[in-house]
Subunit: 464 residues, 2 copies
């Protein structure tokens, strides 16, 4: 993707100019009008005392929204610098999901310190939301949703939303519940507005809705939102009570994170924590995420050396074999990684399941057969027509050597593709994330199988 | 991500049961109630004649929505089997963005055949939308949006939406335009509903909105939607006229596609076309996407062989050097690919720009220094304590050899990380997609640099 650091640079300029000219009143007015993300980015660059001053001039709702868009570090700094009572007021106006995330990051002592200042509703909300593991629907849902009852008229329903909704950001879908919060269906705000004010809600309710379970994996929730093109999905507990919603704004974040995780895993990097960015992550944290695979593979890689050692004699008589060893290893690694990547991604996107394994292996065999012919022809031509300086035993022609090496490489391409495609399927079969069969792991494995193929083909045909 | 082939299997079962029992009336009723995606998936498994029968029993709006969710193949089959007039009616009710995509896939002849059957509005819409390149905002936008004027009262505005909106799916944001469709701002449906019916729209209009340009890259559009947590973004032409919107449902698709593209590029695979799935893509198409890099790298990889040939003498005296060559190459490849991946992804997500290059190189140097110490210690221990069977010249101890190889590997780790991190930055500098500096390319490059480092360190210190 293209980078785009400052999406609306004009907005930043407007704010900076007003701030330089000391026009605080106009500045605060702009804070209320501009997208909160731009306002948050502007404030993050100012001294914290100035931020406190600005927040003080805003109404609680704007305070809560802008505060929600601050980085965690600034949020924490403000938590420490603001009087508890003032902080509690801003806290009460934050988006409920971001609020729960912030609360979870606090120490137990800080949490206990904050709780008495919160009103009952906020306190309960934050405690309940913080109780769910972050990778579940419960951990990412918000409680900012609107509900109505089926026996209301459209007009009464609108009245209830008018009363409840100022604090709710998501009123595109309105959920119809009974008096114990058991979900009955949903209507869209559009349905409500467009229908005759006297119609009862149950006359136009959608009773067939897609929902998520509170313990459901967040990836599965994001996939449902994606698959069904939803603006939001209701989250239900085991009693079918509506406990929250996940909007597709959240789904976008999850999909970004999961894609990054996939990419990192494929490259043998332990995925970063949510919200960690490259430059702000300490080098030591980067180091820890990379060292495990690197050192393990280096250790396993020594096996390749042992195989070479074993075939020392072959290498000594045919030094030309040593020349094509790196190409053999690299080609196998590349083919295997490509096959693994394509299979991992297709599994991730739900395009296929492990039940399709015979089709996948068949397809990879066909693809790699074509690839192997190309690589083998290239190798043969290269050796037969360019490597004329090598010394060979009398009874062995360069063409024969070229043939032997080409055949070995062709076999290597095919086995690498099949190994690369199979490993993710095997890992998935045993319940793991296919992406952990990282490309470096496959490279290392096919390095070893490649050398075995290379030397056994060579010794069989050259009669060594 | 977890796979999830059938998100709502109960719905499929309900439909199949009704169909088996021949309860067509109830079945059609369910078609109207269930999510269109589930209905489309069900119909796709039935013979096409049956699908035609079902569609015939639905009202045009449901026809259009379900048809929009069909696979392209079924859409095309229906286009050929349905009478043109009937097809035109369904076509008129499709989602405008999907409709334009379908239309673009038709041959010129088919397009010309279809046009006369369309009403003027649909015809113009489809022609205009098809004119934009698919990777731009114009290519992915829909024309299903609602507009109002600033001098209307909230009540009048609701009246206009009621009149216009039945055909518009996206009425969460309502755009305020003047009589030449120049955008003035937006209100949310919620604002409209919650405000006093007599208030004028200009009193609560949001004049500061984030927008996209019609020629803007679709990735940048998706990033804006993500960054600003938007439900939809207005798309403007050069005269600031509102020409369409992109909803965040579309943004999710783009983000998925871009992530897949990133992953494929990183692994040296030419990205697939939109909508291509692993199993349905012919093997030859897979082959073509992988062969280019594979063969090019195999060709370049021969350079490694030439370096080995050059140092043939060194290898002959110290066969132990040959044993650690594959580990050297693999470790360099892994380190370089990891560094490249992390940098490519951080650039993709807009976490940093190429202006940060000194910080990035500095960070990678620090990280790789730590990694190199770990790998070097492992290598030294391995050689010094386990490789006791090797024969060495009299004046050279195993500890010295171990030291030489470890130092070479440490240097290799550091250079690989710096090369891996630099190449994507250089490609971006020259306007390319950093992901094209694929992991296989980096592996090949550091293979070559690695061998040079290895042999030059060895020959310098061992005095060969």
């Amino acid at each position: 993707m293209e980078e785009n650091e400052n999406l609306e640079p004009e907005n930043q300029e407007i704010l900076e100019e007003l701030s330089e000219q000391g026009k605080t009143e106009e500045l605060v007015e702009m804070f209320e009008e501009l997208p909160t993300m731009d306002v948050a980015k502007f404030m993050e660059q100012r001294p914290v005392e100035e931020v406190i001053e600005y927040l003080d001039k805003l109404d609680p709702e704007d305070q809560g929204r802008i505060f929600s868009d601050f980085t965690y570090d600034l949020q924490l700094e403000l938590f420490h610098k603001l009087p508890r009572r003032i902080f509690a007021q801003i806290f009460g106006q934050m988006y409920s999901d971001i609020r729960a995330d912030f609360y979870q990051e606090l120490t137990k002592e800080e949490q206990i310190e904050l709780l008495p200042y919160l009103d009952k509703k906020t306190r309960e909300d934050v405690i309940i939301l913080s109780a769910y593991p972050p990778e579940t629907a419960g951990g990412i849902m918000t409680t900012d949703f609107a509900t109505i009852f089926a026996d209301m008229t459209a007009n009464e329903a609108l009245g209830k939303i008018r009363k409840d909704a100022p604090s709710k950001d998501m009123v595109y879908y309105i959920y119809v519940v009974d008096h114990s919060m058991v979900i009955k269906g949903f209507v869209t705000l559009k349905d409500l507005v467009l229908s005759d004010p006297k119609t009862k809600v149950f006359e136009f309710i959608n009773e067939h809705y897609v929902s998520a379970e509170v313990n459901e994996d967040r990836e599965s929730v994001a996939q449902k939102i994606d698959r069904y093109d939803l603006a939001a999905i209701p989250v239900l507990n085991s009693l079918d009570q509506l406990v929250g919603i996940v909007s597709n704004v959240e789904a976008i974040d999850i999909i970004q994170k999961e894609a990054t995780e996939d990419i990192e895993r494929i490259m043998g990097i332990i995925p970063s924590e949510d919200g960690e960015e490259y430059l702000t992550t300490p080098s030591f944290a980067h180091f820890k995420r990379r060292v495990v695979w690197l050192v393990s593979l280096a250790a396993v890689g020594i096996l390749s050396g042992m195989i070479i050692n074993e075939y020392q004699g072959v290498l000594e008589s045919f030094i030309i074999l040593a020349m094509y060893m790196p190409m053999m290893a690299a080609t196998g690694g590349n083919t295997g990684s490509q096959a693994a990547t394509v299979v991992i991604r297709a599994l991730s996107l739900g395009e296929m399941t492990i039940k399709d394994w015979p089709k996948i292996i068949y397809k990879e065999t066909k693809i790699s057969l074509m690839l192997s012919i190309c690589v083998a022809v290239l190798t043969f031509a290269k050796i037969a027509f360019l490597s004329f300086h090598t010394t060979l035993p009398d009874n062995i022609s360069l063409k024969l050597i070229a043939l032997v090496i080409s055949v070995a490489i062709a076999v290597q391409v095919i086995t690498s593709a099949v190994i690369g495609a199979s490993l993710p399927l095997i890992v998935r079969k045993f319940g793991g994330d296919p992406a952990v069969v990282a490309s470096p792991a496959i490279t290392t494995i096919v390095d070893i199988t490649g050398l075995l193929i290379y030397f056994s083909v060579a010794s069989a045909t050259l009669g060594i």
